[in-house]
Symmetry: C2
Subunit: 119 residues, 2 copies
């Protein structure tokens, strides 16, 4: 049981759309990711997903609206809801979701990461 410093963990990687696992509890995982550009539209049939912005501005596109998230704001995408994260500039985010969650959900493409590194 060691504490986690978010900025220290973020300094350990620089690639986009490749979440790292930084904590696990109750079958859930805490992940950190740096993102830039447009992700792929997808949904998670069985998992609600929390996006928390550490640094930057994140757009979460839904089919009926776009949610704009700034630092210290979070948004929960309910299971089954199609969404697409978009970052015009680099954004650092924290994700909180079940350990069964695949980053691209029901969409398998070049963004899909089947295994994630723990840091």
């Amino acid at each position: 049981m060691e504490k986690v410093n978010i900025n220290e963990k973020l300094s350990l990687f620089s690639d986009y759309w490749n979440p790292r696992i930084v904590g696990e509890l109750n079958g859930q995982q805490v992940k950190l990711a740096k993102i830039k550009g447009e992700f792929v539209w997808h949904k998670h049939d069985n998992e609600d997903e929390l996006f928390y912005v550490i640094k930057g501005i994140l757009k979460i596109e839904l089919r009926d609206k776009t949610v704009l998230l700034k630092e210290n704001e979070f948004f929960i995408v309910s299971k089954g809801v199609e969404h697409r994260p978009v970052a015009d500039e680099e954004v650092s985010i924290l994700l909180f979701e079940p350990n069964t969650t695949l980053n691209t959900g029901n969409t398998i493409d070049a963004f899909t990461k089947n295994t994630l590194e723990k840091i």
Copy 2:
């Protein structure tokens, strides 16, 4: 589905040791709390508990060590582990834990909150 601004939610209350629920997903809850002083020693038999510091410095006393948490640092207390949060000055924290979690765990005393407000 609305976004949550942490600082806006924190501005809505000022009492200590009375967590508010600000999000729910996958049977887990996101809570915000302001704390100051010494809490009661307790443990959660069935729930891991995540403490994330938004503002201030939090001490989490364990039986064998004390963990010092600053802004943007978090610590996960595993189920069954006795702990006591201590804040010399006011601290704002985010908690992430199952929706079954009682704030004082196995210890029932004046700090115990059986129901929490959603804000």
